[in-house]
Amino acid sequence: MSNKTPLLELENVSKYFGNVKALENVSTTVIAGQVTCVLGDNGAGKSTFIKIISGLHKPSAGKYMFEGHEVAFDSPRDARSLGIATVYQDLAMAPLMSVWRNFFLGSEPLRRFGPINLLDSKFARATAKEEMAKLGIDVRDIDQPVGTLSGGERQSVAIARAVYFGARVLILDEPTSALGVRQSDLVLGYVRAAAARDLGVILITHNPQHALPVGDRFLILNRGQSVGQFEKADLSFERLIELMSGRVHAA
């Protein structure tokens, strides 16, 4: 597996907000078909880290490489055009809009009608339903507002959307944090399904129980600092807990 060229590499990335050091000297690698977990307590800088990866923040220092080339994004749009898709903690969805409108938000399918481009709502409805079915998700009513879906269903809409739009890197920010046991299992299943389709997945969580079964590689953050990056083979559950608590440092 490790002979694959990495999709993403970040080297010694830092981010400062004024005099707040949100992130300092963090490095990681993301490989296609594998799940990289970013672990850390609340405020460790996980969200900041993935906002840098997704182009929402510019790093204050450090190197960001995509398929071996150094890149600098001006907006999330740039990152998206390279196939880096993010499912945010706040889900990046408008709760009062329907499932299909959210699914195609920002990349609406169009249909020519004389001189004007119309929103192709028929195609959008059918495709949204079909794409979600492919990941094993069955939404009842494609016209219902996203706000009326359960937490797991909302995550699944976001994941299906990213996969459909040709994501190569899929970033998930705490997708299980607000979910019950069953719903979490479901979402973790979608995560594996996405990796099986040869996407590089970055899963952010503060729950080691969720990370360990799905992850191939683990980046551990503590108060803005990197504790280190570990392969699955090198980690046990107990070791992971120790590292996350910040009491033990990596050798």
Binding site: P76, D90, M93, A94, L96, L105, S107, L110, Q144
Partner: protein, 674 residues
């Protein structure tokens, strides 16, 4: 997939969705409240006196509605996008002042309107861009940012008109070059003469509208049979003939005897037509053999009470237009009645509302509806007689409307409650409700010497009775559909759409061409409403507008250029402000520097009344337009009903509050159903 076996697949929707009938689907749309509101408010003022609803007064309120409606379109888009523009009102004045001053004083003897008007648009575009830029850059609430623009523009309007023109009023633009063209395009009036077939078009259109609506609703609500029964269909057609004859005669005759005969024929004909159509085409159901449901008891009593109040009020009060009423009561007593009668039930209602969770609020709203007749009856009589704000006739209309609609609501709910328990009582209550409609119809008619009461209201109440009777019989004997049926649903939707189009054309012929005058302002209002609705629902930009208002971060994260969308919305609002300013200037040939000052809140009210969410992310352009219509009707109807003019603010406030509560309640209810 199964086409391979040569079978036509019966398409059904996902079986986990409880099928939402056509009425529930209608309730989910944001503009429904405004649509009902516009009809109710119009009918209310129409029944209030003979001055409102004539061709002349219709032209008047459409004239008020057009500029308000155009602005409401822009403001609602902006509101859905999550922002407000308090400078939208003075922008109309600024554009008028700019055009008028340039046309008169720029260089010697002024300059062509072909230069002035684009210049005003350019200026407006800059203001809109500035508003958007500041809101995006600073992240401050647009309320504050545009309040700043509001004061600056307001000041500039006054300063420049006084400095250059030495008056706050700039007039005589008609001497400028290009005036003729712009007058025709923006402020023109086209006279058609009296339209000969206007009434016939209206009636035929109205009947087609009603028929298509009923067929469409039935199609979406019931289960189709395998084959159509021909004998039932023939009876139904005979009914159609009777109904047509009845309605035509009712409209044309004004004599009491003619009304009765035509009414009976029309009523029976319509009921036959609907009931036998349903029998011919849809499956029957089993009867539910239960006893009287106790839940319906209070509702039923309240319904009967409301009917009695409405009928008796029709008889008791004198129908003259004097303001003097209840003079025999001492002033103190009237004051006490007013305060106690109004304040007590209202305070109770508000208290339970403040405490309640959503479920309780639902109950409170229905309670509010039940209490409204009492609140209105007692407090309005007190207040009105004390201050003599309006005529006896207007008070009577208020009481009749409120008691009547309250009673109808109670009967409807009672019938619904009974429907679950017992078919027999469902029918009985339906019959009682029909009777109540007839009693009120005859009570009002007998009393009135006004042609409007004898004709229009009587006819409407008869039609109401007919509809109640027909729906009762159809619902009692046919199985309600609980599953989606794609082809039937589509057919039903198309029928309703066709009905709406025909009805809309009929109404437009009647309203817009009234007085034989068609005003360009009304055309522009319709035009911008359609463009706005189209952009919002049918293009990707509409999707972006919903998204930046619903969740700006989400929109940005998915690649929507959120800041640009917001700026574009601000620019569009300012540009439409300039358009309305130019329109009014061309119409009046003069502009006041204070024009539009304070109107920005009316635009916002229109948008909110139209079902737009103040916090953004949800709403409708058509709704906002209808909201503007409601406000224009009120503005025009209040003086026509000889109410105290200052009372219109009270009325507007009440309309705003009630519509927001109802919109909110309906939206929650509708989404719970999913």
């Amino acid at each position: 997939m199964s086409e391979v076996d040569g079978l036509t697949p019966t398409k059904t929707g996902d079986e986990r969705i409880t099928y939402r009938g056509p009425i529930k689907k209608l309730l989910v749309s944001p503009e429904i409240g405004a649509l009902i509101g516009a009809v109710v408010v119009w009918a209310f003022f129409w029944g209030n006196g003979d001055k409102f609803g004539t061709a002349g007064s219709t032209a008047n309120f459409l004239d008020v509605a057009a500029p308000l409606g155009i602005m409401a379109v822009a403001v609602s888009l902006l509101m859905i996008g999550g922002e407000f523009d308090l400078s939208a009102g003075v922008m109309t004045g600024a554009s008028g002042v700019t055009i008028a001053l340039m046309a008169k004083y720029f260089t010697d003897g002024g300059i062509s309107l072909w230069v002035c008007i684009p210049a005003a648009f350019l200026l407006a575009g800059c203001v809109g861009w500035w508003n958007g830029f500041l809101v995006n850059r600073t992240g401050l609430p647009s309320f504050i940012v545009t309040l700043g623009s509001f004061f600056v523009i307001k000041g500039a309007n006054l300063v420049f008109s006084k400095r250059i023109n030495s008056l706050v009023n700039v007039s005589d633009v008609d001497k400028a070059h290009g005036y003729k063209f712009f007058k025709a395009v923006l402020g023109g009036e086209n006279k058609f003469g009296d339209m000969k077939y206007r009434d016939i078009i209206f009636i035929v259109g109205g009947i087609l509208f009603a028929v298509l609506m009923i067929l469409g609703f039935i199609e979406q609500s019931l289960v189709r049979k395998q084959s159509i029964s021909a004998s039932d269909l023939i009876v139904s057609l005979i009914g159609v003939a009777g109904a047509t004859f009845g309605v035509m005669t009712l409209h044309r005759t004004d004599s009491v005897n003619g009304n009765t005969v035509a009414g009976v024929v029309g009523l029976i004909g319509t009921v036959l037509a609907i009931v036998f159509y349903a029998r011919a085409r849809f499956e029957k159901r089993e009867k539910i053999a239960g006893g009287f449901p106790p839940a319906a008891k209070t509702l039923l009593l309240l319904g009967i009470l409301g009917t009695a109040v409405a009928s008796l009020t029709g008889q008791l009060f004198d129908r003259n237009e004097e303001r003097v009423m209840l003079q025999w009561m001492p002033t103190n007593l009237r004051l006490a009645v007013a305060i106690l009668g109004g304040a007590f039930p209202l305070a109770m209602t508000i208290r339970s509302f403040m405490r309640g969770d959503i479920e309780r609020r639902g109950r409170v709203i229905s309670l509010l509806i039940l209490r409204l007749p009492i609140i209105c009856l007692v407090s309005l009589t007190g207040v009105v007689s004390l201050f003599q704000l309006t005529t006896v006739q207007a008070v009577r209309a208020v009481i009749i409307t409120v008691a009547g609609t309250g009673a109808a609501t109670c009967f409807y709910q009672a019938r619904r409650a009974a429907g679950k328990a017992s078919t027999k009582w469902f029918v009985n209550i339906g019959l009682l409700m029909t009777a109540a409609f007839l009693v009120v119809a005859f009570a009002l008619r007998a009393d009135s010497s006004a042609p409007r009461f004898r004709g229009g209201i009587f006819t409407s109440l008869l039609l109401g009775a007919t509809l109640v009777l027909a729906t009762t019989l159809v619902e009692a004997s046919h199985r309600a559909r609980t599953k989606a049926d794609v082809s039937a649903d589509q057919l039903g939707r198309r029928m309703i759409l066709l009905g709406l189009i025909i009805g809309g054309i009929a109404l437009a012929v009647r309203l817009v061409l009234s007085d034989g005058v068609f005003r360009m302002s009304v055309f522009w209002w319709m035009f911008f409403t359609m463009v706005g609705a189209f952009v919002l629902t049918k293009t990707k930009y509409g999707n972006w507008i919903f998204a930046v208002g619903g969740n700006k971060d989400a929109a940005r994260a998915t690649g929507v250029p959120a800041d640009k969308v917001k700026t574009a919305l601000f620019v569009a609002t300012s540009l439409l402000g300039a358009f309305v300013g130019a329109m009014i200037l061309m119409r009046l040939n003069s502009v006041q520097a204070q024009q539009g000052d304070g109107q920005e809140f009316e635009y916002i009210i229109a948008a909110v009344v139209g079902g737009n969410l103040m916090t953004g992310g949800y709403g409708s352009v058509v709704g906002a337009s209808l909201g503007a219509l409601i406000m224009a009707i009120s503005k025009n109807g209040i003086p026509a009903a000889q109410w105290n003019q200052d009372g219109r603010f009270i009325f507007l406030g009440a309309v705003l509050l009630v519509s927001v509560l109802v919109n909110n309640y309906v939206r929650k209810k509708a989404n719970e159903q999913r």
